[in-house]
């Protein structure tokens, strides 16, 4: 939607929005004594939703999304989210602190069969929403004005995508924390192989992302055994240089 092949929810602040939502739910829930079982995922989706809406509104100029403003808005949202997370760590109890550390580093260990009751419906719904819009997304590759000329209702499509992204990213963040760079590298590399047509790209990206994440998890658990590395550390260590390489490649071409 933002017509930039090198964007991802981590850069745009959507993931940290989700993490803030979850953190507030944990700490706030602890303080007020509310049972937090189902609250964290919902709060994470809400946080991701707020962050998505915020960066999109900030980056919209006369019906167009300006990439530079979008990235700057992402930086601002990330910084603000960092501040809230920081504040949460100060007022958190010891157990809550452990949970928070888990959120900022990311780990698949928290995903139980019980958690799948939340994750599976949310991710299926997000994917279905996006696949229904695959053709509109293709048309939007031509440019926003061109898409409008071809009958795409830009506002409706934009907000549906934002909702699907908030849902998918929020629920993901709620259970596995912040795992960076998978959402950036996978679609980008896949686009080089299968092309940008979304009906092909979206399902393949979902599968490839899952494969990469599972492989990373296996690696994270074994590479320094008996210590289990946080998976977010691993994906960032590999993803950041890959990201740099993609940027440099783009500058050459």
């Amino acid at each position: 939607m933002v017509r930039d092949p090198l964007d991802d929810p981590g850069l745009l602040g959507v993931s940290s929005g989700g993490a803030v939502g979850a953190a507030l739910a944990i700490v706030g829930g602890g303080i007020t004594g509310v049972v937090t079982g189902g609250l964290a995922p919902i709060a994470a989706c809400a946080g991701a939703g707020v962050a998505t809406a915020l960066v999109l509104l900030l980056a919209r100029r006369g019906g167009r999304i300006d990439t530079i403003t979008l990235l700057l808005a992402g930086i601002a949202v990330n910084a603000f989210a960092g501040a809230i997370l920081g504040a949460c760590t100060v007022i958190a109890s010891d157990t809550q602190l452990r949970n928070l550390a888990f959120w900022t580093l990311g780990a698949l260990g928290g995903v139980t069969w019980d958690a799948l009751r939340w994750i599976v419906p949310a991710l299926v719904l997000a994917l279905v929403l996006l696949l229904r819009l695959a053709r509109s997304l293709d048309v939007m590759l031509l440019g926003e004005r061109e898409a409008a000329h071809l009958g795409v209702r830009l506002d409706r499509v934009s907000w549906t995508i934002a909702a699907a992204v908030a849902l998918g990213v929020g629920i993901g963040t709620a259970f596995v924390g912040l795992i960076g760079f998978v959402g950036l590298v996978v679609p980008h590399l896949l686009r080089l192989v299968v092309g940008p047509v979304h009906m092909r790209l979206l399902p393949l990206a979902a599968v490839a992302g899952a494969l990469l994440l599972t492989a990373s998890d296996v690696l994270a658990r074994t590479v320094a055994a008996p210590i289990e590395l946080p998976i977010g550390v691993l994906t960032a260590a590999v993803g950041a240089p890959t990201f740099l390489m993609l940027i440099l490649r783009r500058r050459v071409s």
């Binding site: 017509r3 092949p5 053709r135 293709d138 048309v139 590759l141 031509l142 440019g143 004005r145 061109e146 409008a148 000329h149 071809l150 009958g151 795409v152 209702r153 686009r191 080089l192 092309g195 940008p196 047509v197």
Partner: protein
Amino acid sequence: MLVAQELVIRRGDADILRGVSCTVRPGEFVAVVGPIGAGKSTLLHALAGDLTPAAGSVCLDEVPLSRWDARELARRRAVLAQHSPLDFALTVDEVVALGHTPHVTRTSNERGQAAVIADALDTVGMGWATDRAYPTLSGGERQRVHLARVLAQFAVGGPGSGDAVSGTRIALLDEPITVLDPRHQRVVLETARRLAEENGCAVLVEGTPVFVRTIPPARSRPWVTHARSEQNT
């Protein structure tokens, strides 16, 4: 019939267009000619419904553009912009297929769409490039691919698709031939004229009046915009 009445387009404090009225009837092929900065492209975008007029109105078949359903309007009106921001590695036939989107329904068949795409590409002399990646094309080739996309937007679905369009159809082309060599300029102008003859109309914007002579004179008439476009017809 496309009718603009007392159109005012404002950007900041400046009136880009002030009180422009014009009418395009089915079958007409109109050229908007004028110096750089006269507001030709602005007029075209106003007629396309991209710009909200500060005053006045643009109506297609007596309904203001803002009241049209987006998809229904897309089946009637196509726009070829001066520059395309497209830089994703779609293949040429994928780009043209996107133009056919307003006609695609659950019942349309793949073969009918493929025929529409092949036909559109042949018309602009790009039939050889079907599988080429769009970013590898030259500027003139890209422009012709986008013209083929406009043609695909006008092509109704094949038999059995239940697809039909009635009423005025209009093609708005912003400097479609500036980057082309003379042979392809002729191809593009011929194509635009044919669109106009098949119960549509075409409006074309061009900076220099030289090309007007190359358009077959039948049923075409040039408009001349003056600087600041206070008057045209």
